[in-house]
Symmetry: C2
Subunit: 353 residues, 2 copies
């Protein structure tokens, strides 16, 4: 699109995973005291992390979690089971340590930061919440683009800076989470554009719509597509018109992680749509994204397939906040521990064949 200002840093190529480390890790897996392949996908995880961390001994002890929060103008169309006030209320809950991601971060010993990109309601100043408000939520995209070009650039930069803080804190894994009433509707609309899919193939209950609510959501997404589809000829413009502050920030964070060579663990439906947008904007970012869980939100399967992603968990979770990714962290850690600490056949004098 010539009428859109490019966000230049998105064009930086991603770092290259280390092929030698991958090969060495794969060879080591073959020498550990177990039948070849018997640790299943935990072997793949260890080998992938070894390549991403360019080491024979991968480790994800240090995890940085950033939750991006923002409201959505489209919430006015009645697309959520919860009122819009909940976004700000949950930001406070994150700050006080009572939300699922707060509990999970503590359990993991992970650092957690929360970024308010624009709640419709005021939270007041909160310890542990960065105030980067770009407006009182996005605009209602059934009537106009969700974001201005400036808002999009700022939201993506907020994601980039979160990833950079993770890197500066020497994190070994980045997790992005999101909170925003109405954001499954935004993610659905964005995915429809990116995948050339119909609203009814992707729209689902989100936080708990009944079938009447889902039908309304389909109709709302369809109206948005009717309005914007002809004007969208780039992933960036799709993100601006149909995304949300937190979705754009997630996409920016994933791209920045890939630039810096920091593995990112993707959460559920909304995060996966952000990952899809990130890969459309920076295709080489793909290698740096690990996929944690398959959400109960039905559209997630479609998005995961488009990403050629096989998440580790399928626990019927549908909470967002980064919670599914957090729950998968112990699996990554266990994969690393087994890879690093098991004896080889030679060390243990165990017969092979």
């Amino acid at each position: 699109m010539n009428d859109v200002t490019a966000i230049e840093w998105l064009d930086i190529p991603a770092a290259q995973p280390d092929a030698d480390a991958r090969q060495a890790a794969a060879a080591r897996q073959g020498e550990l005291t177990k039948p070849p392949g018997a640790l299943g996908r935990l072997e793949d995880v260890a080998i992938h992390l070894a390549a991403l961390q360019a080491t024979a001994r991968p480790c994800v002890d240090r995890v940085h979690i950033t939750v991006f929060a923002g409201d959505h103008g489209v919430a006015a169309e009645g697309v959520s089971a919860f009122p819009q006030a909940v976004t700000a209320e949950m930001v406070k809950n994150f700050a006080r340590g009572g939300a699922a991601i707060s509990v999970a971060a503590r359990a993991l010993g992970a650092s957690l930061e929360v970024i308010n990109l624009g709640t419709a309601f005021d939270t007041g100043p909160l310890d542990g919440v960065k105030d980067y408000r770009l407006g009182p939520g996005t605009a209602n995209f059934t009537a106009q683009p969700a974001m201005t070009e400036h808002q999009l650039a700022q939201a993506m930069a907020a994601g980039r800076h979160a990833a950079e803080r993770a890197r500066l804190a020497d994190a070994q894994l980045f997790i992005g989470g999101e909170m925003g009433i109405g954001n499954t509707t935004a993610a659905t609309a964005l995915a429809c554009v990116l995948l050339d899919a119909k609203a009814e193939s992707l729209a689902g209950p989100g936080t708990g719509l009944d079938h009447v609510g889902v039908a309304r959501k389909v109709h709302v997404v369809q109206r948005a597509l009717d309005l914007h589809l002809r004007s969208v000829t780039s992933a960036q413009e799709a993100l601006r018109r149909l995304g949300g502050f937190e979705i754009a920030a997630l996409a920016g964070s994933y791209i920045a992680c890939a630039h810096m060579g920091l593995p990112a663990l993707v959460d559920g439906f909304i995060s996966s749509v952000a990952a899809l947008a990130a890969i459309r904007l920076c295709p080489s970012a793909d290698a740096w994204l690990l996929h944690s869980h398959a959400s109960a939100e039905p559209g997630h399967r479609v998005v995961l397939e488009a990403l050629d992603a096989r998440p580790l968990l399928d626990l019927e979770m549908r909470l967002g906040e980064g919670s599914g990714a957090a729950v998968a962290v112990p699996l990554l850690r266990m994969a690393c521990a087994l890879h690093n600490e098991m004896a080889t056949f030679t060390e243990a004098s165990v017969s092979t064949q």
Copy 2:
């Protein structure tokens, strides 16, 4: 079977899960700051553990793992990709801390004990391995019953005593593991009897047979079924004729856990067949068994269905030793942390509808 000496303690009824604690835990899940059901199966896990531990605040910080090792006479029929010497070699590897379950136990802060119920090869004395050898492996069940009545009773008692040690150590969760070259063949034969299934519907590659090897395994199991099927009219006799020391010990441990009201987390194919035997011997034991993972061993799906079990993980693991159960422990812990530590809507002043 009147010609079989009953093992009397098996008839003790299982403890009763606490219905009030279950109800209170389910109510609490509905009050936590998340859409109802949004934590998916982690909610079910927390509620189930609350009922088993008779508390509103379940906890599985203290985990006891017992690995039962034993050899199998049927290994002489060439049913494993590994030589029989590996059973004793792996017992040494457990003792030295180099096996997958050793690494996983350390990572979990779990206590690990290893019981040698009868390896064909001598291990010499080993720190941390209890020597309860009942013979140099079971008899080859293509020619005679795998165990004598005395051996079966002793093997089941060894499992019972392991569960009792876990209880005495104040463990909140018991995991049984197994090691024994040839034991997928024994588990397959036993499952065929318990489920009235054909050998070809349950036999799989185990530690890594090719299709010729699997065909041989099917033939070996079929020969065993031809020999024993008419003499088996109880689960106990099926276990004696076609099981193994470690399989009988696992079954005994699960039943003893149920008697004492100690939740047990079942590992993969062999453990699930032991769980099936346990439930046939003591039906009320069922409630005390949690299911950790679906193994890559194809017969596991059939056994899980018979158990009406939906394991938490599906990572294509097929190692045994209790490794799949160990990998699932962090999910149980996360389920408990979320259940216990999240704020309620009231506490956090978050709007509901």
